[in-house]
Symmetry: C2
Subunit: 468 residues, 2 copies
């Protein structure tokens, strides 16, 4: 079989680009840094959205929509914030056929508009907590774009909440971190994210605490998959989000924000992809079982159609490929590229023996299976491979994580993978030094793996790595 | 009870604004012409999306995402098209901290980018039909914005398809018109849309046929709720979407496009709203039954919670309001404003008799109902009121539609409502004359109400009206 993709060991970035192109996930858009998300890629994003959205709603947040355009003045409201964004802003200067009196900015986040709205909508403690979420496109101009990982426009969800107390805000930021994001990433994406606390240097500007979920990519780097921020009262002060308490005093609210984006598609590719293409975890997969007519023959189409129907009735997301005018080999390669978890191949030879062939994308295993047993075999394979992908990714992460005692060792070992090192051996100065070698502190963890409440807790570990 | 809304008969536009503000559906955004869609309004949009999206997928179209930014040059590709849009375009001239070499336009539609992509993705007849859809925000600068009806940024779906033959394209544009849009509007929105063909003057620029769905608003005007266009080969020629046929010749494809937007939220308000606020048809309603604790008392909260659970178990979308610290009257007015189809009021007095009160939003009817019968009563009310809202809107439309024989009568009668007049009595010249009186031809219909294949079919009727 001709080589379809550049092998990962030969050129990992090239492999990544190849998968995106050959699996028809996305393409570059006509304006530099933008992307066209093709149906195969967008179906993955829709599944991510559906799984996340139900968890976000279960956490009590309500969806809303805020405008694409923001008055330039809004972004000077919170000075620290603007400094972070201004080189990334896209500015509309002309509209309605003439120059605008005041230019407007294309939202890099809706934080400021949402802050303004919150200030209007909150007056009493009874209005709190106010739990908002938005699914939208945002723009941050990228000079070195890479599809899904860094694009000038991307799709995301941004949650913004306001609470009466610091404890409530803290608890909510954690709830989203664990019950929404970690649960989704572990149980749907099958990605063993490490969940920890960012250092002060890596923290979101204007926040008091950034919590992060970090995935290991197939080349041993780290990819930040999502963040949940506590913003203290900083943001509420900047936008005057205040409320009258039950005692009658006027107080500033405590706010949080949290987001994940189409960047997760990059994480999905890099965590589970192999040299044949994408491997989509069954619980995420828009198509879990791909029933293929190998070629026409006695009762083949009929048997394939019945299997498609039986799988659908059993609750499996299934598609039928009966395009026999396209060579089977080409279709099979395409199915591997797209990473459908299970293929059910129905051809005249096997069918004469009463069999279809169940092919598992995870390990390529092919099992001739009596037609009557196919539904059960497919369901068992989907369950097993959801777990197996997670276990494989966990084993890989562990095999590429080194435990060291000093900063010098950490920087050296980070060339090969992740490093676990006592935070006391790094510190702020060590962090700056690591950065000079393109190594960053991904997060801080307690010895038992739980998330610290503060950077200066004793006996914390830091995860250092190169990152995307 | 104090007056909450301006009555419709007193000032219809003011009533419309009042409903949007008081029911907390939306607000103006900080940049003129933009809107903030609040959770109550956005939940309606999400339900519209879900119902439409499943119908769009059933019609075989796949979702994808195309970039927000379009090179200015793309919009000069199809001259007729640009002429229609240029005063409406928002232009980004600065990004990445400097002036762009080539300004980019914020998409007024993704038509041109999708055309470019289609040209790349289609090469053989085997690639056809190509059926794409996108959910996205678009920008068309508005000098006289009105929330939901005309905003500088709005949310929509735009479908774009390419076919091998004119017959296929024509059939698909009709399929979307009837099976996706009409089915949704009639059966979910409970709006008796009139479905017809636009005249040449009202047709989408560059298209060969525009099919439309028109709703009557509470003030007897017309609101275009959606359109489905046949574009012939015009668009395929402009973007070079061509394919090699089975016979080996190279042919241009035949394309369609079709869209509906957040404008439908305006239609929903104006078709079903009354002087107490919104009335949401049960099949659309994010909250179908609103269980209210009237005030605390023996077993009241427990009974309300049990009813909430029983309704949820019966498949009803339900919410519990136990905020007894807010006066009941205020909460009831708010529930009316938001148009929940059914309220279930649970208070100590009725409960002592074993009853809860089932209140129907459509006609305000209140029925004390034994607690054990509430689920059945709610389900019956939801079914009945879905139909009753449709029937009411149909009766209203008929009562405000006049049949006349001449153009002069038509223009006069259009001051009060819709007019049905033989198209032969209007014609192109008559249409221009009607336009001078702010009356437009909404669509052409056959005598039996079906959609004509051509403007010059004999015995067509025209619907004339003032419009939004």
């Amino acid at each position: 079989m001709a080589r379809v993709l550049t092998p990962r060991t030969e050129d990992y970035p090239r492999w990544y680009q190849d998968v995106i192109a050959k699996a028809q996930l996305a393409e570059n858009g006509p304006v530099r840094g933008t992307m066209v998300i093709r149906p195969t890629g967008y179906a993955l994003w829709e599944r991510m959205q559906a799984e996340l959205d139900s968890r976000i709603k279960a956490a009590g947040a309500e969806n809303a929509y805020f405008p694409l355009f923001i008055p330039e003045a809004y972004l000077t409201r919170e000075a620290e914030h603007v400094e972070g964004f201004s080189p990334e802003l896209a500015v509309v200067t002309h509209a309605g056929g003439k120059q605008l009196a005041e230019p407007v900015v294309v939202r890099p986040t809706s934080e400021t508009v949402i802050g303004e709205s919150m200030a209007k909508w909150v007056s009493s403690y009874r209005d709190l907590p106010l739990l908002l979420n938005q699914w939208a496109n945002v723009v941050r101009w990228e000079l070195r774009p890479r599809v899904f990982l860094r694009t000038s426009e991307f799709l995301w969800q941004e949650g913004h909440t306001a609470h009466a107390t610091e404890a409530d805000a803290r608890a909510y930021a954690r709830k989203i971190l664990h019950e929404t994001y970690e649960d989704f990433m572990v149980n749907v994406l099958a990605i063993p994210v490490v969940v920890g606390r960012k250092t002060a240097a890596e923290r979101f500007a204007g926040g008091t605490n950034t919590l992060t979920l970090e995935a290991m990519t197939g080349d041993g780097k780290a990819l930040q998959m999502g963040t949940s921020h506590e913003l203290g009262q900083n943001f509420a002060r900047a936008f005057d989000i205040s409320y009258s308490s039950a005692a009658g005093t006027v107080e500033h609210a405590w706010t949080t924000s949290w987001g994940v984006s189409t960047r997760m598609l990059g994480g999905l590719i890099m965590c589970h992809g192999d040299d044949q293409g994408l491997r989509v975890p069954p619980r995420l997969a828009p198509i879990q079982a791909y029933v293929m007519v190998v070629k026409d023959g006695d009762g083949v189409r009929e048997a394939a159609t019945k299997l498609r129907d039986a799988l659908r009735d059993a609750g499996v997301r299934v598609a039928l490929d009966d395009r026999v005018e396209t060579p089977f080999g080409r279709r099979a390669v395409d199915a591997e590229l797209k990473g459908y978890p299970v293929r059910v191949e129905v051809g005249p030879r096997d069918l004469a023996d009463g069999n279809a062939v169940v092919v598992r994308r995870r390990d390529g295993g092919k099992t001739p299976t009596p037609v009557a047993d196919v539904v059960g075999a497919v369901r068992a394979a989907l369950d097993a491979d959801q777990q197996a992908l997670y276990d494989e990714a966990t084993a890989f992460r562990e095999s590429r994580t080194t435990e060291v005692a000093t900063l010098a060792e950490a920087i050296e070992a980070a060339a090969e993978g992740w490093v676990r090192v006592p935070w006391s051996a790094v510190g702020e100065a060590g962090e700056a030094k690591a950065n000079q070698s393109a190594v960053s502190v991904r997060c801080l963890l307690r010895a038992d793996g739980s998330v610290p409440d503060a950077e200066d807790e004793p006996d914390l570990y830091a995860i250092l790595a190169r990152s995307y």
